[in-house]
Amino acid sequence: MTTPLRHRSRRSERLTALIVTAAVLFCPPLLLVIDRLPSATGIWLLLYLFVAWAFVIGLAAWLQESRRAPAKGRR
C-alpha cells in the first residue's frame, strides 16, 4: 500500500523539480550569462534557448512515458 503511494509522490516531486528547472533555464540570470558570450551572429542566446527547451521537453517525455510504462497492465 505504501509503495505505490510513495511512488506517486516521487513522480510528482520529479515533475515539480522539472518545472522549476525549466523556469530557471528560461529566466534572465542564466540568459544574461549566455547573452554575453562573444559571437559574430549573436546566435548563442537563441541556440541556448532551443537546446534548453528541447532538453526540458525530453525530460518531460521521459518522465511521463516511463511513469506510464509500468502501469500499463492496470489501466
Binding site: 515533475l15 518545472i19 523556469a23 544574461l32 551572429t41 527547451w53 521537453i57 518531460a60
Partner: protein, 917 residues
Amino acid sequence: MRNDILILAVAFGYLAVLFVVAAWGDRRAETGRSAIGSPTVYALSIAVYCTAWTFYGSVGRASAQGPHFLLIYLGPTLAMLAAPFVIRKMVRIAARQRITSIADFISARYGKSARLGAVVALMALISSTPYIALQLKAITVSHAVLINYPGSADLAVEEAHFWADKSFWVALVLAVFIILFGTRHLDASERHEGMVAAIALESLVKLVAFLAVGIFVVFVMFNGPMDLLGQVADTPDLSRVLGLEQVPGGATGWVGVLILAVLAFLTLPRQFQVLVVENVDETHIDRASWVFPLYLLLINLFVVPIALAGLLLGGDGADPDSFVLTLPLSTGAEALPLLVFIGGLSAATGMMIVETIALSTMVSNQLIMPLLLRFGRLHLSGTGRLAAWLLGIRRVAIVLILLLGYVYHALIGDAYTLVTIGLVSFVGAAQFAPALLIGLYWRGATRAGALWGLVAGFFLWGYTLLLPGFAQSGWIDIALIEQGPWGLGWLNPYALFGLDGWDIYSHGLLWSLLANVGLYVGVSLFTRPTALEQTQAALFTEALHPNLPSASLWQGQTTQGELGGLLRRYLGEAAIRRVFADESDGHAGDDREASHRLITRAEQALAGSLGNASARVLINSVVRGEALDMASILSILDTTSQALEYNRRLEQKSAELERASAALRRANARLRELDRLKDEFIAMVSHELRTPLTSIRAFAEILNDGDAMDADKRRHFLGVIVHESQRLSRLIEEILDLARLESGRLTLNPERLDLALLARRSVDAVAHLHREQGIALTVELDGGPAMVTGDADRLEQVIINLLDNAGKFADGSAPRVLIRLAPHKDRFRLSVEDNGPGISLGERERVFDKFHQLERDGGELGRPRGSGLGLAISRGIIAHLGGRLWANESRQLGGACLTLELPGAADEALPEAPDAH
C-alpha cells in the same frame, strides 16, 4: 497562376475538407467511437494556441525584438509541464460539474453565481475581439500579399467601403462556416468532437506549411543554416537582432511576458475550451504535457532563419509580418506560397472557430439565458425547444462576435502590429487567472472577492492597454499616451504612477494583476461565503480528493413528475431518458418523490446545456425546501486527503500494536501461570522429598548416637531407612518421569500387545502385596486377548499404579479391589475399582493433578500414602498412547473406579508382541 479564383477555390476547398472532417468526427462521436480519443489528437487540438499571430507574427516579432517571440511559447511549455497537476484538476471538476466554458467554470466555483458568469463572459468577449480582429487582418493581408505581390499589400486593405473590404466577407463566410460547423448539435451539448478533430487537422496543416517554408528558405534560398549565419555575420546590423537588448523592457520585460504567457495559455477562452471542456480522457494530459511543447518547438524552429533571411533579402520596405509569404514569392515559387496561405488560413480559422464557439456558448449561457430566465421571456411552446433556442442564440452570437471583430479590425486594427494586438488580448485573458487558479487551491476565496478582483483588473487592463490602442489608432487624442489624461503625467497609461522603462505588457500586467489579486484576496478575507459557495469551493479545491462525494448534494424535495416536466420542457425526451436511465421504470411522470441523486443528475443535465447558474435557477423553481447537505461534504473534505492518509496509516499501526500487545499479554499471562505452577511444583517436590529424608536422617542419628542399641532395634531402624530410601528414589524416578512427560521427551516404544496378558502380569506383581494387606482382589480378564498398541513396561507401570492406589484406598476393614477388562466399540477399557470412600464429583479431575492427595479421614497423619504423582504420570502415559484415563463411581464395589481406555490395534497378529516380555 496566382489569381483570385484559384486562391478562393483553394481556400473554400480547404474549408470544405475541414467541414467533412468535423462531420466525420461528429458521426464517430454519435456512434460512440470517438475520433479524438488519443493524447496526440488532444495535444494537436491544444495547438489551436498557434494562431495567425504565430504563423505570420512570430517572424515579424523576431525581426524586431529578437528572442522575445519565444516567450509566448516558453510560457505554455511551463504551463503544460504543470498540466498533470493543474489541468487535471480542472478537467476533473469540469467533467463532474458539466462545465461548458471558462465563464461557467468561474461562476460555478463561486457558488454558481450568474453575475460572475456574466462578468467573465463580457470580459472574455471584449478581450477576445482584438484577437479575432487580428485573425481577420492576417487572412486579409496574406490574401492581399498573395494577389498583389510584388506590389504593396496595404493599399488593398484600406481601399474603400466595407462591402469592398475583403475582411468583411471573410468574417461573414467564416460566420456561416462556424455556424454550420459548431452548432450542428441539436442537443446543444458542451462537447464538439467534430470540431476538435478538424482543429487537430488544422494544427498539422499549419505545422507542415511552416516547416515547408522554413526548409525552403534555409536549404533552397540559402545553402543551409551555416550559409545563412555566415551572411548574417557579414551584416553587422543583423548581429544584434538576436540579443537580449532587443527585448522590450529587458530582463523585467522578459519575465513579465513569460508569466503573461503562462497565465494566458490557461485562461484564454479557446484554450480553456480545448484544454478542459473538450478533453475526453484525463489520461491524455500526461502525454500532451510534452507533445504539445514539442509541437511549439517545431513550429518555432524556422522563425529566426526566416526572419534573418527576410531582413537580409527583403530590404527595408517589406513588412516583416509577411516575410513568410514574401520570401517564397520573391523566388517565383508558385505552389509554396499557396501552401503558406493555407497554413496561415488554418491557423486563423482554427482560432476563430474555437474562440467564437467558446464565446457564443458563454454569451448564450452566461449572458442571454439568465436574462431570459429572470424576466420570464423564455416561452417554450413545445417540448425540448430549448435546444433550438440555444442554437439560435449561439448562431446570432457567432455572427455578432465575428462582426465585432471586423469592426475592431476596420477601425483600429491597422494601428498595431499583429503581435501587439495578441498581447493586449493576452493580458485581458490573464485577468481570469486569479479567480480561476487561486480559486482552485484556496477555499476561502469568495464570490465578492472574485468579482471585485476581476472588475478592477479588467478596468486597469482597459486603461493601460486597450485605451492607448484607441489613442494610437487616432480614435481618441494621442495626447493621452504622450502627456497623460488632462496633462496628468502620473496617470499616463503607459507609465502609470510614473512607472516607466517597462514594456507596455509587463506594465499593464503588473498593475492589472496587482489590483486584481489584491482585491480578490482582500475582499475574500472580509466577506462571508454563502452555503452554496462553501460547498462549491470545497468541491473545487478538493477535486482530486479520493473520497470526494460525487453527487447527492440536494436535500430539497420534488416529485419525479415535476422534474421530468422541467427536463421535457428544456431538453426534450432524450434527456429525460438519459437522466432517468437508472430509475426503476426509466421514465418520469408520477408523484413519486425524486431521489437526491436524480435531482443532481437533472441539474447536471441542465448545466451541460445552459450553464451552472441557469440550471441552478431552473432546479430551484421545482425543488422545495432547498438545503444542501453541507455538513456531510464539508466534514469529509475538511480533513485533507493527506491527513486522511496519515490517519489511515496511524490506525493501521495502532491496530497492529494492539494485536501485538494482546499477544504479548497472553504470553505474559501464560508465563506467569507457568511460573506459579513451577513454584508450586518445587514447593511440593521439596516437601515430598523432605519427608522421607527427615525420617532417614532421624533414624540414622538414632543409630549414630545409640551405641548400646540392641541388634533387633538396629535392624528395624535400618529397615526403615532402606524403605524410606527406596521411597525417595521411587519419588525421584517419578518426578523424572513427569518431567520427561511434560517436556515431551518421554520415549515410548509402542508395539502390539495383549492388554489382558499385561493386566494379568500386573496382578501377579501386586498379588503378593495385596495378600499381605489382606485385600481381596477380583480379576475379570476372561474376554480373550485384547490387542492394543502400547509400551508394555509403561502400561504395566500404569496398571500396577492403579491397583496399588485401589489397594490403598480400599476399605480398611474388608478391603476389596476389582480389575476388569472389557471391549468397548473398537477400544478396550480396563477398570480398577475399590470399595473405599470413593471420589467426590469435584475431585474426580483433580486427582490427576500433580501431588494431589486425597484427604482420608482417619488416615495416618503425616504419612502420605503416595507421592501424588502416580495418577498424573499414568494419565500422561495413556494420553501418549492415544487413550484416556478418568475416574468415576464404582458400579460393583461402591468406591472409586479408575478406567483406562486404549484403542484396539489392527487385526494382523504380530506374534512377538505380547510374548516378548
